[in-house]
């Protein structure tokens, strides 16, 4: 038996419009230097980036492959994966007919650095770089407003600087913040995002400084990967329970690369607990699952792949087909092929929503 995947005939079919909400356009530390002051350039050179983990370089849980990237994504003429625009066009943007791609820079950006002043300078540089090196040359690629999220006011300053600039799609957080996202220290960021009319994207990774499980540090990278969804469950819970959406009813949160099958079950659990514990959180005006339905969007990658593909469609329906956004995670190892990743039984209309319609509505892309 052979269950070789069918190759869609890309030439004979009209390519659907695809908005990819998760592309990791890469910069090096050297790329950011021109956008740093002498003070912070020297600091970077001398002390380097210091996340809330112990390694000066590399990762506390070594990845499955170098830079967690597809082995075919290293540009032929050298350089890091997704650092070369021509190759990215060839391998991804043109290959799949991506109409708009949102860049979510992961590192170096200064996000989550122990030194927030330095983090703010790095975020500014990362934002400038996205525009100068990428968007200016390839307008399909839209930027994220990287913010030094551990400091609300510094973040607000960066958001205000970018407000009204259509080249920026959303404000970007890493999911592992040093406190739960609903906490007051982050409120200036939500306020500024709403003021600027920008959704807030939360991409998994980062380092909170706390153990990666609520029972201590795991041993393996595979555990770090599965723990993304647990930390996001706590994060969603916090945003709801702290009343953030009562304060900023226009706030929209996009969960990126977090998986999504856990979201409905979390809503059910919160609803059941809330029915008994309402008087603890009187500022909530409706059931927790209703805040989820209204304020959260999810991205598809890494696509859930249960044995029975109908099950994932159940979950998508529970979340709401209008809140699901396509993401490829290019160039990372668990990349989802835009043409093959979605469950085959989705209707053409649902596909269209996930590929582009939902993102256009959320982000206001023309």
């Amino acid at each position: 038996m052979n269950i070789e995947a069918r190759q869609p005939s890309r030439s004979s079919r009209t390519k659907p419009a695809i908005v990819d909400v998760d592309i990791h356009a890469k910069s090096s530390v050297e790329d950011l230097r021109p956008f740093l002051s002498n003070r912070w350039g020297d600091y970077l050179q001398t002390y380097g980036q210091r996340s809330r983990h112990g390694y000066a370089k590399g990762f506390p849980y070594p990845k499955g492959q170098p830079l967690a990237s597809r082995r075919d994504s290293w540009p032929p003429d050298g350089g890091l994966p997704a650092s070369n625009l021509d190759f990215m066009r060839h391998q991804h943007l043109d290959q799949y007919g991506i109409t708009i791609g949102i860049m979510n820079p992961l590192s170096p950006t200064g996000q989550g650095d122990q030194n927030v002043e330095f983090g703010a300078a790095m975020c500014f540089a990362a934002n400038e770089f996205q525009i100068e090196h990428w968007n200016r040359l390839e307008p399909r690629l839209r930027a994220s407003v990287c913010v030094p999220y551990e400091d609300g006011e510094l973040s607000r300053t960066e958001i205000r600087r970018r407000a009204g600039d259509q080249r920026f799609a959303h404000v970007l957080f890493m999911s592992r913040t040093s406190e739960l996202l609903g906490k007051r220290r982050y409120w200036p960021i939500f306020e500024a995002a709403v003021e600027a009319g920008l959704p807030v994207g939360v991409h998994v990774f980062g380092y909170s400084g706390w153990a990666m499980t609520n029972s201590g540090w795991p041993s393996f990278y595979i555990e770090e990967m599965t723990e993304h969804s647990t930390s996001c469950q706590a994060m969603v819970t916090s945003l709801i329970m702290e009343g953030v959406f009562e304060r900023w009813p226009e706030l929209k949160i996009v969960l990126i690369e977090a998986g999504f099958a856990w979201l409905p079950a979390l809503g059910w659990r919160l609803d059941n607990a809330w029915k008994k514990l309402k008087n603890e959180v009187p500022h909530l005006k409706k059931a927790p699952s209703e805040y989820i339905r209204q304020h959260f969007w999810v991205s598809t990658q890494p696509m859930e792949e249960p044995d029975d593909p109908e099950h994932v469609i159940d979950v998508m329906n529970w979340i709401g087909m209008d809140h699901i956004l396509f993401a490829s995670d290019y160039p990372h190892w668990d990349f989802d092929d835009p043409f093959l990743a979605l469950p085959p039984k989705l209707t053409a209309e649902q596909r269209g929503m996930i590929y582009s319609g939902n993102a256009q509505a959320l982000y206001g892309f023309a």
Binding site: N2, A5, R71, F335, D337
Partner: protein, 137 residues
């Protein structure tokens, strides 16, 4: 089934690989210590291009803490998602019964024989002095 000449033997050294196109099908030919294997280049999971994967060994374990490592260079990991496939059988490690890569018969033929036919050399130049990798499809 027709036989297609896809490479000169010298072109794919032990541990090497070559991506070829046979009748529009992308096929990757591996040389494992002098033995040739021809597999569909398309990962049966989500279509990753296997010729861009990493050749690795097989790690097994009969008890936690034990890493029994063998068959270096005989397993191809898809460049997307890192699933492992046995080049000798095409079977995936994670689901060998249901998930495998299409395997094609492959042989080494002398150029002298090939020029007589009935092989399909297509655009591939064949000389009588060399040996060639031939894939049946």
């Amino acid at each position: 089934m027709a036989k297609h000449v896809v490479a000169a033997v010298a072109e794919i050294t032990p541990g090497g690989r070559k991506l070829v196109d046979v009748k529009g099908r992308p096929i990757v030919v591996f040389n494992l210590g002098g033995e040739f294997f021809a597999l569909s280049n398309r990962c049966p999971h989500r279509g990753g291009s296997l010729c861009h994967g990493k050749l690795v060994g097989l790690v097994e374990s009969s008890t936690p803490g034990e890493y029994r490592y063998s068959r270096r260079g005989e397993i191809i990991r898809c460049p997307w998602h890192s699933w492992e496939f046995d080049i000798r059988t095409g079977k995936s490690w994670c689901d060998p019964a249901r998930l495998r890569i299409r395997h094609y018969p492959v042989s080494v033929e002398a150029g002298a024989q090939l020029v007589e036919g009935p092989y399909v050399a297509e655009t591939f130049p064949v000389t009588v002095e060399d040996d060639y990798v031939v894939v049946e499809i």
